[in-house]
């Protein structure tokens, strides 16, 4: 286990690869140049728009390059602009800017400080706090998102004061009436630590809740239901159920920023799996190449077949270890072949329903599977394909060992493509109809003018006009006759 030893510190790789695209919103925009010297905490990327966040130098050094590179984001491996930073080991800090007094200024400062949800979703913390929706409950999420991960546990045990102070600040910023701090049952040390910290700070507003250690209790939607009995409506976020969820790591980061002016430049990462020599929780500067992190933990051990970013339920396999740790990187698993699933073939679905028993949003994976196989999107829709949180529970429980989650992921993608196409076709049809209508209107206009003319022909003065014209014509004829 990776909780036996304290959080390891002091990791400072020679080179950092700091991606601009590390948050759920738009990528940050670089504000430094190649060759420029930066200090730790200096902004190197400004927020690229709403829901974005600032990006900062995680150490002092020199900007070596700014170029596109592969980055593991929440949406999988993509390419993003990365700032390559050659560290100098001097650990020079940028001066802090201080904690503003106004609420709005504070929220902007949080955005600029690059603080995002550290549970893995990297949603803009500022945006969550700014949201004026009717949220009466702030939920501090101290339940790990996955069985292998222990970074939040360690953080609560080692930094309970900071975490609780961060939580109190969040309460003030959101104006939430009450705060529930959720910690899993099997983490009594963490719970005791944060409880004592709250007592020490003289706080009585925070309520502590022990939640069962059942994956994925750390998932926001599940946690909201567990704590309040409310459900987050399909397709929306916790604020729709009157709740704001914040991860304890985020609270810690917020406190650091408030008290020391330090923006988010590091996070705790769980490094685990049989394939790493010394599993541990490590404080990692953002942008550290995963290889350096593994090296810091004693290097690889044995035959590592899979390198997983995130836990082994929802994390994804990485092709290599030269990718950087981002703000979303909560866990690295270096796995041997015997501790991971090998897709060695499946049996047909035996309809046992074990998948449905473990599905958190109460879907029927077995019926979804059938609909997904034939790409019946209407059926998939009514069975709630888009409510699938891709937690992987059904896969693990399935005696036929069917790769259900992957099938659902693919079906979602196919559906997105199909509905996009349908939308485009719809748009084209509508455009075409509009054009036809326009043409019809034009034709009608012309007809109307002609009708007006014809109607005018029938009226009194037009008769006079016609008679005059006829007279004119006959006179001309007379004139021409005499001319001959």
């Amino acid at each position: 286990m990776s909780t036996g030893t304290p959080i390891a510190r002091g990791l400072l790789p020679e080179r950092l690869i700091i991606p601009m695209d590390q948050q759920a919103g738009p990528a940050a925009v670089p504000v430094v140049e190649v060759g420029q010297r930066v200090r730790k905490g200096e902004m190197i990327g400004r927020p690229g728009g709403l829901r974005s966040a600032g990006v900062h130098a995680s150490a002092s050094g020199t900007i070596g390059a700014i170029r596109e590179g592969p980055v593991p984001t929440v949406n999988g491996l993509t390419t993003s602009l990365c700032v390559h930073l050659q560290t100098d080991g001097r650990d020079e800090q940028a001066p802090s800017e201080g904690w503003p007094r106004e609420r709005d200024a504070r929220i902007d400062a949080i955005c600029n400080a690059g603080i995002v949800g550290l549970g893995g979703a990297v949603f803009s913390t500022a945006e969550k706090l700014r949201d004026d929706a009717e949220c009466d409950l702030l939920i501090l999420n101290g339940a790990e998102c996955e069985p292998y991960i222990s970074c939040d546990d360690m953080l609560m045990r080692e930094h309970p004061l900071e975490v609780v102070r961060g939580a109190l600040a969040m309460m003030d910023l959101t104006g939430a009436e009450s705060t529930v701090f959720a910690v899993e049952r099997d983490k009594p040390d963490a719970l005791r630590a944060v409880r004592e910290a709250a007592a020490q700070l003289g706080d009585t507003r925070i309520e502590f809740a022990r939640v069962p250690t059942v994956y994925p209790a750390g998932g926001e939607r599940q946690l909201v239901e567990l704590l309040t009995g409310r459900e987050v409506p399909s397709g929306s976020y916790p604020p729709a159920a009157g709740c704001i969820c914040q991860n304890v790591g985020t609270a810690f980061a917020l406190d650091r920023f408030m008290r020391r002016g330090e923006p988010l430049t590091s996070r705790i990462v769980t490094v685990t799996g049989n394939g790493v020599a010394h599993p541990a929780n490590v404080e990692v500067p953002i942008g550290t190449p995963i290889g350096d992190l593994i090296h810091f933990c004693g290097g690889y051990r044995g035959d590592v077949t899979r390198l997983i970013l995130g836990g082994n339920m929802m994390g994804y396999a990485l092709p290599g270890d030269n990718l950087p740790i981002t703000k979303a990187g909560n866990c690295i698993v270096a796995a041997h072949a015997d501790e991971i699933r090998e897709s060695t073939g499946e049996w047909p679905c035996i309809r046992c329903g074990d998948c449905a028993d473990v599905c958190p949003p109460r879907l029927l994976p077995q019926q979804l599977l059938r609909a997904a196989t034939v790409r019946d999107f209407d059926q998939l829709d009514s069975l709630g394909l888009n409510d699938c949180i891709e937690c992987g529970c059904c896969d693990i429980a399935c005696p036929s060992q069917i790769a259900l989650t992957e099938r659902f992921r693919q079906a979602k993608q196919a559906w997105a493509v199909v509905s996009q196409r349908a939308a485009m076709a719809d748009l084209a049809t509508r455009r075409h109809r509009r054009k036809l209508a326009r043409l019809a209107a034009q034709t009608e206009d012309i007809h109307r003018q002609q009708d007006d003319l014809i109607a005018a022909i029938g009226s009194e003065d037009s008769r006079a006009m016609i008679e005059a014209a006829v007279a004119r014509a006959s006179r001309r004829r007379g004139e021409s006759d005499t001319a001959h």
Binding site: E225, M314, R341, I396
Partner: protein, 345 residues
Amino acid sequence: MRFELKPPPHALPTTSVPKVMRHVIYALAPAAFAHVWFFGWGICINALIATAAALGAEALMLRVRSRPVKPALLDGTATVTAVLLAFAIPPLAPWWVPVIGAVSAIVLAKHLYGGLGSNLFNPAMVGYAVLLISFPVEMTYWLPPRGAELGHSPVGAWDSLRFAVTGSLPQALAVDAVTQATPLDLVREGLTSMQTLAEVQAGPLFGGMGGRGWDWVNSLIAVGGLYLLFRGIIRWHIPVSMLAAIAVLAAVFHTLDASRFASASFHLFSGASLLGAFFIATDPVSAATTNRGRLIYGAGIGILVYAIRTWGGYPDGVAFAVLLMNATVPLLDRYTRPRIYGRPR
């Protein structure tokens, strides 16, 4: 360094089809021992013949359908079908009875519908129904339980085997003389010939709840069923609703007229009530898959079992009740979907 790219989840699966089937066989073992103790080695002989026939039919069908043969043979599903069928066949049976039953189960019920997972009807019960309709006489060759003191020693292992192969017993034993109706048969015949239930149940086959020997076999079936429940291999919904339906109906009618309607405990412990509730109706492939659907499905089977036994043309109704309810499963699955998290009703 390069690593393999596989989609999540990466965690190891917790179970597998062969493992599930293995546990079903384990769960049936105690009842099989009791069966051997009370009714001789017939069930083992039948189970072996049926398994061989089922595996042969499975291999043949997979060949014909050009599917891989080996993994399917090893998945244990055909074996479980055969063993369940053996529980339904009388211990004294010519070899072709289990063979025809098993082949019908695998070919008709399973592969003609698309193989494992696609069959609408429970294969073992289809095999049994085929036998019951085609060979009604052979399907009555039940033996008296040990200790019933009917003047006959139970047929020995050697005699059973000999009967299975040749279809006849040693000179000294006549089939009619050694076989014995089951308690459900007796109750049925007795009631049609205007005996009261009390008179029928005074016979030497009765005693305890469901009949001598059957009490033990069925209690151990229930123990096996609880084992499956405890291991999480089956869910409680089907057995509970099915047994509850039988018990409630039996209790109501028994209270109304105890001379014509047997008690709830008799119904639960005789025939295939418990085997059906824990091992047959819970066959995942042919049962309803939602929890509400399972409750309705189980209750439906229970009601039909009671109705067939009491007013129908067969002494036991589990097989037909299961097959009838199998046909309702697609509908049940469709209309008993649970409400999805975060969605309105």
